[in-house]
Symmetry: C2
Subunit: 141 residues, 2 copies
């Protein structure tokens, strides 16, 4: 059962427009989270969208519909990704590529410490910054 953008739009009561459908397809298809401007560049290249605000507005809609999720990296730029199970990211500080880590025991690990603060966790957010295989083995600085 492949994930289908049109089905999701219908299910969430969102109308099917060229830009909107393609934005969702891109997020469904991409393994790594994308920034709004990365999404826009793809659409623009395909001649499907002429405006960044269309992308921002659709990403906002998708967030509200809980189809996608977003988070902000330390560069201050938000990244968006299709909502898969809970996971974290590894970010290459050299080539900037991101990948997903599909496991998490973080909350469990910090449970006691958090309780000590009287804090009730709702969500959490973890990224690793470092070097990917390609970058760490590359002979070039």
């Amino acid at each position: 059962m492949k994930i289908n953008a049109l089905d999701i739009l219908k299910e969430k009561g969102l109308s099917n427009t060229g830009p909107r459908k393609r934005i969702l397809e891109i997020l469904i298809g991409d393994q790594a989270p994308l920034s709004a401007s990365e999404v826009f560049k793809k659409l623009e290249f395909e001649g499907l969208c002429h405006n960044e605000s269309t992308v921002y507005r659709n990403l906002q809609k998708f967030l509200e519909a809980e189809i996608i999720q977003s988070f902000t990296l330390n560069d201050g730029i938000a990244r968006f990704e299709f909502k898969k199970g809970h996971h974290h990211h590894i970010v290459c500080i050299k080539c900037k590529k991101m990948d997903c880590l599909n496991l998490c025991q973080v909350e469990k690990l910090f449970d006691e410490a958090i309780k000590k603060h009287g804090f009730m966790p709702v969500s959490h957010h973890l990224e690793f910054y470092g070097l990917c295989k390609g970058c760490s083995t590359s002979p070039l600085k």
Copy 2:
């Protein structure tokens, strides 16, 4: 041995100016990380600084000198804090207050998974979002 802003500036070869010294004192004194604009408001109130760019420039200098560290929350705004030992943060999604968690076994936890990706971790970054004691027990929505 109390931490002294002047000593740190001298040690790092940074000249001692009114705004600079006070920015560092504020970061040394504050338990929670602050945004540039929060730092600026304090300085402005004290009549010690008339300009946000002075704050940004000093924070940048402190980062380069590795006196402080910064990270960006999911609101897209960078936070700055005096460099203490490695730790993580809990952020109240209601009152926005932050606190520190002074322990971390995260890298160890993900070690295998990271190795599987051929990824060499350099740093990582974790925040918990949720409700602080005050906010979770408050009867008011």
